[in-house]
């Protein structure tokens, strides 16, 4: 996990603050930072979203491609996750550490979003055993991506979909140099929650073209794509969960921890909660242990916070949709 090194006194200050329900940035233990959500930010994807949570900045793109269903589940489509924790976001991501974190997040996402009853995988099936939609979900952790060198760094690998996007960023940079003159060297924290919110928003935004299966006399099947680009199916994201990470700090726990707070937490509990308050996944992370009673408390908080998280997210998504094309896009450089 990306982390910062703090002095003992700084940690103590944070821990005492949590005890008094006043965190360093003035929040209470159960407050989220102000989040900004925008969808449809990358044009060449089936769906995309960008979420800024404090300084944690996540961009998710979903691409629907046709594939063959998995052997054990012939009547379902599936999701694939790719997480790029670029070294630009935090130096900790450099080298193998980033790769490891990337696969860890990807496997957690897989566990959460592919679990039964999250996304209706059956709706992704085109014809059983032969064709289905595969949703490739690319997660790009895009903190602090405003320096020219980071785009030109050949060692930095972006997955294919982002390549064009990077080019446009460099252009923007060239034209409005003045707008990027400062950089707040502060890192975000709470990667899991932010990613899950973005994934949900991107799935909400995803539009899959409608297809028809045509069968001729010999029984061979042909797939016909609808000509109308607006003729598409959308996913029902009602049961798609969001992750709420509860960091145990001192004797209490906080939600949406900053990187500094994460450094003070020995153990945290990651909970996936649906909008109805059902828990679909939980996992302890960190070097420390938790006493059973505090886990119960954390689950309660997680449910409560998770529900309002879903409510706020849905509100923003609906608001954005109602504004339609009248709203000016900010995009990923705003």
């Amino acid at each position: 996990m990306a982390s910062v090194v703090l002095s003992d006194a700084e940690k103590l200050y944070i821990i005492h603050g949590v005890q008094e329900d006043l965190r360093v940035d003035g929040r209470g233990c159960e407050d989220y930072r102000c989040a900004e959500v925008e969808t449809d930010v990358v044009s060449n994807t089936s769906g995309s979203a960008r979420v800024k949570l404090g300084h944690t900045d996540i961009l998710v793109g979903v691409k629907a491609e046709m594939g063959t269903p998995k052997l054990e589940k012939p009547d379902e489509g599936y999701l694939e996750f790719f997480v790029d924790c670029s070294a630009n976001a935090t130096p900790e991501f450099e080298g193998r550490g980033g790769e490891e974190l990337g696969t860890e997040i990807a496997s957690t996402l897989y566990r959460i979003f592919s679990s039964e009853g999250s996304v209706d995988l059956k709706s992704l099936c085109i014809n059983p055993g032969e064709h289905c939609w595969v949703l490739y979900v690319d997660v790009l952790n895009d903190q602090i991506c405003t320096t020219a060198e980071c785009f030109n760094n050949p060692s930095h690998q972006f997955s294919g979909a982002w390549q064009s996007l990077i080019g446009s960023k460099v252009l923007v940079l060239r034209n409005h140099t003045g707008t990027f003159c400062y950089q707040l060297l502060e890192c975000g924290g709470n990667l899991f929650d932010a990613i899950s919110i973005t994934v949900k928003a991107a799935l909400f935004n995803t539009r899959i073209p409608k297809v028809r299966v045509l069968e001729d006399e010999e029984g061979s099947k042909e797939i016909e794509l609808s000509d109308d680009p607006y003729d598409c199916i959308r996913l029902n994201v009602e049961d798609v969960p969001c992750i709420v990470t509860l960091n145990k700090i001192g004797y209490r726990h906080v939600v949406d921890a900053t990187l500094q707070e994460e450094a003070c937490s020995l153990a945290s509990l990651l909970i996936a909660i649906t909008s109805k308050g059902a828990l679909t996944c939980m996992k302890k992370i960190g070097k420390g242990s938790l006493d059973p009673e505090s886990i119960f408390e954390m689950m309660e908080t997680g449910k409560k916070v998770g529900k309002s998280l879903h409510a706020s997210l849905q509100k923003v998504l609906d608001e954005e949709e109602s504004l339609g094309t009248t709203r000016q896009k900010v995009g990923f450089l705003g």
Binding site: T103, E104, S107, R111, I112, S115, E116, G117, D239, P241, A267, L269, I271, A272, T274, K276, G277, A278, L279, T280, C281, M282, K283, K284, I285, G286, K287, G288, S289, L290, D291, P292, I295, F296, M299, E300, G302, K303
Partner: protein
């Protein structure tokens, strides 16, 4: 897929005979009937057999077997010089490795070294480290690394939980200073026949499910407990959504299960210590 030159490869494709079984549906159904015929006590623990100190090359070792077939062997190595001096000086590092024998599961033999297999092993190794780290006094081993290797010989259900118990026994057997043993216990929630699980109070969680129960479950949970300190060192679970209260009950049941398993592990360690002293 890149060719693996380091292993002898058979034909490109092969299928387990179960796939071609005369009445595949029937075979599966018969099994379900078997487990369904005698509804088991959900709180029953499968007998656990544990033995520590049986390997010669490892500094500490343990073997845990759950009746029903799960067999895990673990080896532990005490402090060694950390490979890279640049790492944290203040505390030691715990390295975990988890391997699944190619013949450990029913059905198709996974290709060793295949991407899916590597991913599964990596995830299990990470879970093992999460569960053990709080139990080990790493601050006592500055500049050093401790290593644990687990090998799953046969997966009869609750494998990760058994591996956690075995690994903590192996560490204790190696003389590594620990705050407590980490005891693992698994649970699963069978799918409900009528209507989907809405998390009502009656929802039964089964302690230490067998392989068949695990395969058909709607949700699974693995808990690890440090019994003397009453601290939970690992919670890992997922599946079909349920009320947090339901999961809370499962957690309570799992913690209780760990506590019930603790005396067995404790006894096993003492026996090993006595054997060692006697030798």
């Amino acid at each position: 897929m890149p060719l693996d030159h380091r292993r002898l490869r058979g034909p490109d494709e092969s299928q387990p005979p179960e796939l071609w079984a005369a009445q595949p549906r029937d075979g599966g159904g018969g099994e379900a009937e078997e487990s369904g015929a005698a509804p088991r006590d959900p709180c029953a623990l499968r007998p656990l057999f544990a033995r520590a100190g049986l390997l010669s090359q490892a500094e500490g070792s343990a073997y845990v077997e759950l009746s029903g077939g799960t067999k895990v062997l673990c080896a532990a190595w005490g402090p060694r010089e950390a490979a890279e001096p640049g790492g944290a000086v203040a505390a030691g590092r715990l390295l975990c490795d988890f391997r699944r024998a190619p013949f450990c599961a029913r059905g198709a033999r996974p290709r060793p070294g295949g991407a899916a297999e590597r991913e599964a092993e990596r995830e299990a190794a990470a879970a093992l480290r999460e569960a053990l780290e709080p139990a080990v006094r790493l601050s006592r081993y500055p500049r050093a690394r401790l290593a644990v290797s687990a090998l799953l010989l046969q997966d009869g259900g609750s494998a990760l939980a058994a591996a956690i118990s075995a690994a903590s026994l192996a560490l204790a057997d190696a003389g590594v200073e620990m705050y407590d043993l980490a005891v693992g216990c698994a649970l699963c929630r069978p799918p409900r026949g009528d209507g989907d699980g809405d998390g009502s109070a009656a929802e039964p969680w089964l302690l230490q499910p067998g392989e068949a129960e695990e395969r058909g479950s709607a949700a699974r949970l693995t808990v690890a407990l440090l019994p003397a300190l009453n601290q939970v060192s690992a919670v890992l679970g997922g599946g079909r959504g349920g009320e947090p209260e339901g999961w809370g009950r499962a957690l309570r049941l799992g913690v209780e299960g760990c506590q019930r398993l603790y005396p067995v592990l404790r006894h096993c360690l003492l026996r090993a210590a006595r054997r060692r002293d006697g030798a």
